[in-house]
Subunit: 383 residues, 2 copies
Amino acid sequence: MREVCIFGVGMTDFGKFQDLPIENLARTALLNAIKDGNVKPKEIGVGYCGNMLAGRVSGLYSCPAEILFEQVGIVGIPIIHVENACCSGSNAFREAWISVASDLYDVAIALGVEKMTGRLPAPLVREKNTMDGAMGLVMPGVWAIRAQKHMEKYGTTIEQLAKISVKNHANGCLNPHSQYKKRITVEEVMNSPMICDPLTMLHMCPIGDGAAAAILCSADIAKRYSQNSIRVSGVSLTSGTYEYLRDFTFHDLEKRAAEEAYEMAGIGPEELDFAEVHDCFTIAEVIRCESLGFCKPGEYPILLDEGKWDLAGDFPINPSGGLLAKGHPVGATGVAQIVEVVQHFRGTAGERQVEGAKVALTHCSGGTYKGDTGACSVVILKK
Amino acid sequence: MREVCIFGVGMTDFGKFQDLPIENLARTALLNAIKDGNVKPKEIGVGYCGNMLAGRVSGLYSCPAEILFEQVGIVGIPIIHVENACCSGSNAFREAWISVASDLYDVAIALGVEKMTGRLPAPLVREKNTMDGAMGLVMPGVWAIRAQKHMEKYGTTIEQLAKISVKNHANGCLNPHSQYKKRITVEEVMNSPMICDPLTMLHMCPIGDGAAAAILCSADIAKRYSQNSIRVSGVSLTSGTYEYLRDFTFHDLEKRAAEEAYEMAGIGPEELDFAEVHDCFTIAEVIRCESLGFCKPGEYPILLDEGKWDLAGDFPINPSGGLLAKGHPVGATGVAQIVEVVQHFRGTAGERQVEGAKVALTHCSGGTYKGDTGACSVVILKK
């Protein structure tokens, strides 16, 4: 396997754009990445698109990838649609990486895109066909149990969890692409509507629309396109069952995916300058960062109080605003995390810049509404 | 890229199994392939699933691949769902092939599965959102125009096209997995209900349910599993616009995909012993075989009259019965074609055995209901 670099990135704003079809979102992200990478569409050898709902929400149930890429002249090459729930975007990135790392193609593009507003199908709200769904064990329920368990086991408080939302919203204010650009307080999080005890609405990420794209090439030709391309040092994707009936406060899936990526990159978590982590709920940031090895189990809330994960701290988590503030158009998220890292490495992240950042990790995790199996992906990038 | 072999295959019967959920179809195909390959699920490094409608028909709109593979103990590894319309299965096979050829994994599995009966969504019948759909240019309409054009340009007759259905149904009678096991006559094809002039119902493949799986490994370890594994010699996937406003009787997409696969395999079409071709309509077999280079444009019907494409002929096309008789559960088709080839190479194809077959090609082609773009895949296998 040969070394792979990222040389072009682009994304849309994230938000609820009721009247913007999926085609427009994809086109904007693709054109931004093509322009940023100073590459001609004809130079791209293969394209992967990560998306979950194009069939159900936009009526593009066959070949959405071809339709979306063709708009910008990316056609006549292998175009592949991949789906892996919240890992769809990072999965597309992984396949694009393999395409180049394997020496099959010199240049590959990964698109992540999701259109969620408009015609949201009922089963997204409640899956009727499984016992878990019938019992109310949909995502907010699952994460509420995890929060309760973490609080019980480690003495974590709901105020500490609320602070994560406060932190990520503060970061999101500095990100022009964020769905929410509004500072909030712990009180506001505590007083927002109760969804599933102990989690109120501001403990949860929103749904939204958006797209992001990244263009990769082999390291030996990277200089053709850019003087400051980013190295892809570790890529992992794994699957597995979640922790039901075992430990609700730790994710083996995350641990395995991270260990594989650390090994490939030849580093440990202590060498990371920052990370973009799948904070679909405040408690998700806690459990996932602990499972990814950023600190010992139970320590995340304590270090949060000390400011370690703040933008100005030792190890900023979700400088982009994360899913909680930047938003979570499912298929777009994994690629947007990559875009965020590239901006920091280039020193173009504006007010939210993590100064001197050279090594960063992105993480996504996606589950099924069957509740018992899912995917986890980790990417490690180096300047 | 290193050489890759297929050592285990399995499939379900194809047909309309109203009461059989997608999980059962996938499980049967996977267990058959695992048993056939004499492999433990834990030895498999990565799994790809090709499917189009799990979200819309079966309610599995996120991570269907993880759910389907986990049933047989394939879990804890990267599991990826790919969609590419009628190329979904062959696309899954391609990604599995890359995974092994690239040296990333020693063993990979490709599953193709589709559940179409039950709750078929309306837009499958008619896509309302595009001008093509509104004008009636759905699949039967498109293929009827192609048939008219081929008849006009080359003097092809509707009786010749009907003979293709007769041929493939005769082959299907010899395939235990076929959806239809009934010999039909040219008169029966001509007298079946008119769908879109000149194509009557028996010129068209049915919808159905089914699954197929293939397990691949690097050539250097193939002997661990099998003494007669099959070599994957050429794999291609491409995308492009169809011929609207250009030549309705020839497909550039097929030509490009075939040329790429021939080059990779180091052979020409004259070295093929037989082929499984995407005969979704009788006229599709004509245009595709001509575009794949099996004969000159316009010659397929003439050589058909001479018996060249019959099971007993020089170059059997669709010994399995093809989509017309074996059936076409969309995501399953591309992998089922691979299963068919493996059976012939092993000499276990029973009454439909192509004697002495050593080189074969499989072909799939998938379009979007947007009508203007699609995918084409070709795989060349050697004994």
